[in-house]
């Protein structure tokens, strides 16, 4: 049939530009990244490709005994373990408030709470650097008013990562809040009515109606947030430059320095792949946990 053939050709022509761009500038580099990670590509190879040698898995082996790499992994996991639950709790809390039938001016509050999400990460990280300043920062000033001594947020290795977590929670909670609000609206109102007639308290309604109703949404939100937080980069780049004393070097920060500061592009590609493996592993673990706790 003539129409069939025309539709075939049209389909291919319509997807060709996008598919070519994604193929050439994403899929090819991803495959090439694996190849590159098996070479000693460095500044000499950048100048002259004849200096390039195949080293098999030596970059991976070297990384796995490199203490700074492990510290970067540890710092990143610390950021995820501290930041994800706090972010999700803040998002859920804000969503419950916004969804409450008692709340007034909902569109205004929704916009205000969501605003940090659309701001430019670098610009707001710069703002927070001043807010967290040990001497002139507003945060220490406010803490001082309630009798808490000054904390050297970004200068103390014990506080630098918690400070970045605080910033990340502020920046990101609005995103999951919107998803939670949509999820809350799918929970049938009669479930709440039935619980109320049974005399369930507000907390017990939350525990036995809201939380189970949000189960799949919570799993989805934690998958997205963990994957996003494992890609920590701009916050330490702007706020701490990885310091103090490597306390905020993340995996991607380590990759960036290896690749574009020292031009060890082979090693940096291996770091990128290890991050990918880490992300896959964490996602699979989350899905397994979610499935076990989910449909019961």
């Amino acid at each position: 049939m003539k129409g069939q053939a025309a539709s075939q050709r049209a389909g291919w022509l319509f997807i060709a530009p996008a598919a070519t761009i994604i193929g050439v500038f994403f899929f090819v580099p991803v495959l090439a990244a694996f190849g590159l990670s098996l070479t000693d590509f460095d500044i000499y190879s950048l100048a002259d490709l004849r200096n390039l040698r195949f080293v098999a898995f030596r970059n991976y082996a070297d990384l796995l005994v490199n203490p700074l790499f492990w510290q970067a992994v540890g710092n990143t996991l610390y950021f995820v373990v501290l930041g994800v639950p706090l972010s999700i709790a803040a998002s859920l809390g804000a969503a419950l408030l916004l969804d409450s039938p008692l709340a007034r001016f909902k569109p205004f509050f929704r916009t205000a709470l969501f605003a940090p999400v659309v701001t430019t990460l670098v610009a707001v990280a710069v703002i927070w650097r001043y807010l967290l300043h040990a001497r002139y920062g507003l945060i220490n000033y406010a803490l001082g008013e309630v009798g808490i001594g000054p904390i050297d947020w970004l200068g103390d290795p014990h506080w630098a990562m918690p400070a970045i977590v605080l910033f990340a929670v502020w920046k990101n909670f609005g995103y999951n809040m919107i998803i939670f609000v949509a999820g809350l609206q799918t929970i049938p109102q009669d479930l709440y009515e039935a619980a109320r007639i049974d005399g369930a308290s507000a907390f017990s309604r939350f525990r036995h109606v809201t939380l189970p109703g949000l189960g799949p949404v919570i799993l989805l939100v934690s998958l997205l947030t963990v994957a996003g937080y494992l890609q920590l980069f701009a916050e330490p780049y702007v706020m701490t430059q990885g310091g103090p004393g490597q306390a905020t070097v993340s995996v991607l920060y380590f990759m960036y320095e290896q690749g574009f500061k020292w031009w060890n592009l082979g090693i940096a590609s291996a770091v990128a792949f290890l991050l990918f493996v880490l992300m896959l592993g964490v996602t699979v673990a989350q899905l397994a946990i979610g499935r076990r706790g989910g449909p019961s």
Binding site: G3, S7, Q8, A10, G11, F14, I15, P17, A18, A19, I21, F25, F26, F27, V28, P29, V30, A33, L36, A94, L97, L102, F109, T111, A112, L113, F114, A115, V118, T120, L121, V122, A123, V124, V126, I127, Y130, L131, Y136, Y141, Y175, I178, I179, A182, V217, L220, A227, L230, F233, A234, V238, L252, Y256, G259, L265, A268, A272, F276, L280, T283
Partner: protein, 273 residues
């Protein structure tokens, strides 16, 4: 009367949460109008003593941030235009045109969503270096020109176009291109606004890729210029806050104007995806 206390609690908590969310941005605006050195005093001042444009003057006249603003505007607009053209065509085809391998290709594309973009960055940098696209806008734009998320967004929306509408036009002898232009594009209007808002904000706010590709500071986008300025001018809180205002204000205004479309995209991308 019994419901009064909970109502006060809910709205009071909302007010506190909104203040916490907005306060850093209000503080940024306030400090940007202070005179040099004014913010570095104790207790930290909340409002400028005598509002001044000194920081903005320094920023535009001496630091030349106007050029970075133009760079960001050009790049974000160009990325938006390119991603609209390519993603809308592909999203429509994946939803409505029948061709061999369609579902297989779409699944492969969706698979790309689990691979973090940073894995591709190093080889992509070397590829672009070979073809001379490093340290110019082309290198920033190439990976932004089409994306799986955008295609997915448009496809989900285009699935609701009735097949009879397209078939009727085909029977009338309209070409596929004409059907796309005259029938499909008008229907896809709302999702195109969503996609445009997303792409513009993402390109404007992007940091890591332009940081890698652009080395000439005359080509820096606002976030890169701001990060480099903050390494040199740590002491100048007022200057840095003026820079933050210039960077954040355009995207915040755009979001407030188009938030209906933006939030629709956010929900389409996560709840259904």
């Amino acid at each position: 009367m019994k419901r009064l206390a909970p109502a006060i609690a809910v709205n009071g908590l909302l007010v506190i949460a909104a203040i916490l969310a907005i306060a850093p941005l209000l503080w940024m605006v306030s400090v940007s109008f202070m005179r040099p050195g004014e913010a570095d005093s104790f207790p930290p001042p909340l409002l400028p003593h005598a509002p001044s444009l000194a920081a903005y003057r320094e920023l535009f006249a001496r630091q030349g941030i106007g050029r970075n603003f133009a760079n960001s505007l050009i790049l974000a607009s160009a990325a938006t235009a390119l991603s609209l053209i390519f993603n809308v065509m592909a999203g429509y085809a994946f939803a409505k045109l029948r061709f061999a391998g369609r579902d297989r290709i779409f699944q492969i594309l969706l698979g790309a969503l689990v691979i973090p973009g940073q894995v591709a960055m190093i080889p992509l940098f070397l590829m672009l270096k070979t073809i001379g696209l490093v340290n110019n806008f082309g290198g920033v734009l190439v990976p932004a020109a089409a994306g799986v998320f955008g295609i997915f967004l448009v496809r989900q929306y285009a699935l609701s176009i009735p097949d009879e509408l397209l078939e009727a036009a085909r029977v009338d002898g309209a070409s596929e291109w004409r059907i796309f232009r005259a029938i499909v594009l008008p229907v896809l209007g709302p999702i195109m606004v969503t996609l445009a808002t997303f792409t513009f904000l993402a390109t404007w706010n992007d940091f890591m890729w332009p940081l890698i590709v652009l080395s000439d500071d005359r080509l820096y986008t606002l976030p890169i210029a701001l990060a480099s300025l903050s390494r040199e001018h740590v002491q100048d809180a007022e200057l840095m806050m003026a820079g933050a205002v210039v960077t954040v204000a355009p995207v915040l205004l755009l979001f407030v104007a188009l938030q209906r479309f933006y939030i629709r995209g956010l929900l389409a991308g996560s709840v259904k995806g």
